[in-house]
């Protein structure tokens, strides 16, 4: 039964997309060859459908009945209109050798891919957040204002496309929808080759893309990279058609595809400037006005782009979250996180960028996946720059490689890969046998059993042929337990944690298989702060054992401001407590005091809460001019300011400024004295109490997470109790009190 539902879900999703696409093509009066119609319709229709589902999510009507009812109505309309039948002219027949090779490759790899896509979804990101978010939206019947997961802020057109198949056939049906793009993309490439009278090159490139190990693995998963590449290639494709037909309808279709590309993945925004530049170049060359066509494409694309920007602007306060946080400041993503993330994504596990060519083509372990050794011929694309007719292919290859240095994972080459494949195909197909031979070699080298012969031992690749799990003849749980290390504890979490309680963890878990609210430490500013609280209890350098004292003549003050004077790119500035004293006694903090800080004004209260495990931190590199400020509504008499600080920061120059009752500003002190204070006892319990106060009820920790051993050995001192354990992962319930037997 599940197999039928999976297939039904996938077919429904593809059918709806094709119907909407063909409707659009008909209305826009676009003329395509028979072979092109389904693939182009599928991509355009997917863009339109994702936009519709976005609307449904916004108005919170995501119910199984609504999705299926709407899909059924669309499919019925398509059937009545005869959209399932192909019309129009055909391309000239493919050369026999290519036809046979394509058929063989499609059959062999198709069965392999189908088996993997229909098996339970086990991809790291698919199981963690792509389908995790789909599950959350589905349960909430629409969008949730998620501020604790950066991935919820990325554009999610693919998640919108997953909704319908997920409603019918759950996780595997969603993965099958991505597989549909894996079928559409090579088909489009093949058609493109035929359209430009390079059928052998098209066939060659289609095989390169369809078989490429990382593309296959990505395509069978609930990811979005192949869909993104398909949308980008459709823009490129329609531009080629537009050059031949020059209709406004094509411009509209180009706008839809370009907007859809961004809606799938931020980095695909380049599809829009590429389209605009191509149109402008051609219009200018022909001496025609270009403004209206450019406005049309931009306007249509914006319709699909804007919803995601607006959603982020409302929820996060940064339309392009989780990026550009230093410009578009917001409380939900720290600048330090973004910088760290970018640094990591720019290198992954490689020591030098010279490793990239071999890693992404043949090794596949350090940059997660490989395209296949034939892609080492990609520089051949440069040869096309000299040919005006083929130059767009080379330019597209180069343009869509531009974002790659920001994230050097092999997957991030997928948008450019079709263009490189075409370029290699065009050059190599000048000798037909060479192209056939290379395509065959690529197919053989891409077969999962062949990859270990040349790739790194731990290359990310398809593993096995799980046909029993694809047909669901064996329990899904068995496959999930085998393939996802944290699946077992995820199931335990759902059993142990009551509804409405929140779990904090340090790593992703397959949230797609859980209903519990789970916060991953690194995925938000909230998570950063929670993890920092936990670490402040046990990492000696993070404990507030440093004391900085500013002495000044006793006086009445209306405001004090502590100003940082030091620039340190590698360090944050943080303050655990700022205490105002008079005559040796702390001045009682009054509810009507007003606190300010720059940067990070959202956390300033953490320096005034009397907790040694919380601290205000700049969460960005320390810069001169940063400040903390306290404004008193009534004058306060003081003669000393004490800062309690951790020793994970270099002492820097600070100035303490004061404002008297007349509003005059003075430098109270710029020569503080430094001393050490004894670390306080009971920080572990204080951390647990603080986590509880911030709405965390459970802690999930792996043996490789810092603090695992400490919590395991000193559970009672933390005020926690073990709630579940699977392998080397433990779930603790936060109690906030020390059991009697642990007390001395």
């Amino acid at each position: 039964m599940l197999v039928i539902l999976i297939l039904l879900g996938a077919f429904a999703a593809a059918g709806v997309a094709i119907t909407l696409g063909r409707h659009a093509i008909e209305r826009l009066q676009i003329t395509l060859h028979r072979e092109e119609q389904f693939a182009v319709s599928f991509v355009l229709g997917s863009g339109i459908w994702s936009f519709i589902v976005f609307g449904l999510c916004t108005v919170h009507v995501i119910y199984k009945g609504v999705l299926i009812g709407l899909a059924a109505a669309i499919l019925l309309y398509g059937w009545k209109k005869g959209f399932h039948r192909l019309q129009g002219e055909s391309f000239p027949p493919l050369p026999t050798i290519w036809k046979r090779l394509l058929t063989a490759v499609a059959a062999v790899f198709g069965v392999l891919y189908l088996a993997h896509a229909m098996a339970p979804e086990v991809s790291p990101d698919g199981a963690a957040y792509h389908l995790g978010l789909v599950g959350q939206y589905f349960r909430a019947h629409g969008f949730l204002p998620i501020t604790t997961n950066i991935y919820a802020s990325l554009s999610q057109a693919m998640e919108m496309l997953f909704m319908l198949p997920f409603a019918i056939g759950r996780h595997s049906a969603a993965a099958m929808t991505h597989l549909t793009f894996l079928c559409a993309l090579p088909w489009l490439i093949l058609c493109y080759g035929r359209r430009i009278n390079q059928p052998a090159a098209g066939a060659f490139a289609a095989i390169l893309i369809f078989c490429a190990p990382v593309i296959g693995l990505d395509g069978i998963s609930a990811y979005n990279d192949i869909a993104t590449a398909s949308a980008i290639f459709t823009v490129f494709y329609l531009l080629q058609v537009w050059k031949q037909q020059r209709t406004n309808g094509l411009l509209t279709a180009i706008g839809i595809a370009a907007g859809f590309a961004f809606a799938l993945k931020y980095t695909a925004l380049l599809a829009l400037p590429f389209a605009l530049a191509t149109i402008a170049w051609n219009m200018r060359r022909d001496g025609r006005k270009m403004l209206l066509p450019l406005i049309r494409v931009t306007a249509i694309a914006s319709v699909l782009i804007a919803p995601w920007l607006i959603k982020n602007a409302i929820v996060i306060g940064n339309p392009v979250s989780p990026f550009l946080n230093s410009i578009l400041k917001n409380p939900h993503v720290h600048i330090a996180f973004e910088q760290h993330y970018q640094k990591h994504m720019a290198m992954y596990a490689i020591a030098s960028r010279t490793e990239i060519p071999l890693q992404v083509t043949a090794k596949g372990d350090k940059l997660t996946g490989l395209l296949g050794p034939i892609f080492l011929l990609s520089p051949l694309a440069l040869l096309l720059l000299g040919n005006p007719a083929l130059r767009p292919i080379a330019l597209a290859a180069l343009l869509f490689t531009l974002p790659y240095p920001a994230n050097v994972g092999t997957r991030f080459l997928i948008p450019a890969a079709p263009f490189f494949a075409l370029a290699i195909g065009i050059i190599c197909s000048r000798i037909d046998r060479l192209a056939v031979g290379l395509a065959l070699v690529h197919a053989v080298l891409s077969w999962p059993d062949a990859i270990p012969l040349y790739a790194a031992k731990y290359a990310w690749r398809l593993d096995g042929f799980p046909w029993k799990y694809a047909l669901h003849l064996r329990p899904d749980e068995e496959f999930l337990l085998k393939r996802i290390g944290s699946y077992a504890i995820t199931r335990e979490i759902d059993k142990v944690v009551p509804p409405g309680k929140r779990v904090l963890g340090f790593d992703q878990i397959p949230e797609a298989y859980s209903k519990t609210e789970y916060l991953v430490g690194f995925q938000s500013a909230t998570g950063d702060n929670l993890v920092d609280i936990f670490h402040c209890a046990i990492i000696p350098e993070r404990r507030a054992v440093g004391r900085t004292q500013f002495h000044f003549p006793r006086q009445k003050l209306l405001r004090i401001r502590l100003v940082q004077n030091t620039n340190l790119a590698e360090e944050r500035w943080s303050i655990a407590e700022l205490r105002i004293r008079n005559n040796g006694q702390q001045v009682e903090r009054k509810p009507n005091w007003r606190l300010r800080s720059s940067p990070n004004p959202w956390d300033v209260a953490s320096a005034f809460d009397n907790s040694p495990v919380t601290r205000w931190s700049s969460w960005e590199p320390r810069k001169a001019g940063m400040f903390l400020e306290v404004q008193f509504l009534a004058p306060v008499e003081a003669d000393e300011i004490i800062l309690e600080i951790s020793r994970d920061q270099t002492p820097g120059q600070m100035t303490l400024e004061g404002y008297d009752t007349y509003g005059n500003k003075y430098v109270l002190s710029s020569n503080p004295s430094e001393s050490e204070i004894q670390p306080q006892s009971g920080l572990r319990l204080a951390a647990t109490q603080e986590l509880l106060a911030r709405g965390i009820d459970y802690l999930l920790i792996n043996d490789y997470n810092y603090g695992y051993e400490d919590v395991r050995r000193n559970t009672r001192y933390w005020g926690m109790e073990l709630a579940a354990e699977k392998g080397t992962t433990r779930l603790y319930k936060l109690l906030g009190t020390i059991p009697e037997e642990a007390k001395p």
Partner: protein, 175 residues
């Protein structure tokens, strides 16, 4: 033109961000009521928060979050045991191919309070586990117990003369 429009759009959309003008004084946390656990026990991982308490000599420093550390020739550790009967000693470590290529096979000899517990000859690189029961009479209850893992050959850096033995992850006494 388009770029300008895009920047303008982002700026307008970012206006939704609610930067607080100021914040009030938060609720004050009560004085700490908790206790700290005893300083060290019978087992340690290199990313343990109290790892420094267990290290006596010949173990290189590392960041607090590092789960492994290089040893020198005779890494020495101390443990405090509340019970001494029925215990096994266990050490998890890694032999690096980069040092092994120079030193050739190495022998690591584990001793507890001066008693040789056993040796392991390591001819290939990779992860290793050494484990063996420890006679109760070798151990001291509620006192320091010294463990050494002496390696017969170390790799010596041609640049600075630094000596590397093996990579230790965790060790100690288990039931």
């Amino acid at each position: 033109m388009i770029l300008r429009c895009l920047i303008l759009l982002l700026v307008l959309l970012s206006a939704c961000s609610q930067t607080p003008e100021s914040q009030p004084i938060p609720p004050q946390r009560a004085a700490l009521a908790g206790q700290d656990p005893p300083s060290f026990g019978g087992y340690v991982r290199m990313n343990d928060t109290l790892v420094a308490d267990y290290l006596v000599s010949d173990v290189n420093g590392g960041a607090p979050t590092d789960s492994w550390r290089w040893t020198n020739k005779k890494p020495t550790f101390r443990f405090k045991l509340t019970k001494i009967t029925g215990l096994r000693f266990e050490a998890n470590y890694t032999i690096s191919n980069s040092t092994l290529a120079t030193t050739g096979p190495v022998v690591i000899t584990w001793s507890v309070n001066g008693h040789i517990l056993g040796s392991a000859k390591e001819s290939t690189d990779g992860y290793r586990k050494f484990t063996k029961p420890v006679p109760a009479e070798w151990l001291l209850p509620n006192a320091e117990n010294i463990v050494t893992g002496e390696v017969d050959k170390v790799w010596v850096s041609p640049n600075d003369g630094a000596k590397l033995g093996f990579i230790i992850s965790d060790l100690g006494f288990i039931d």
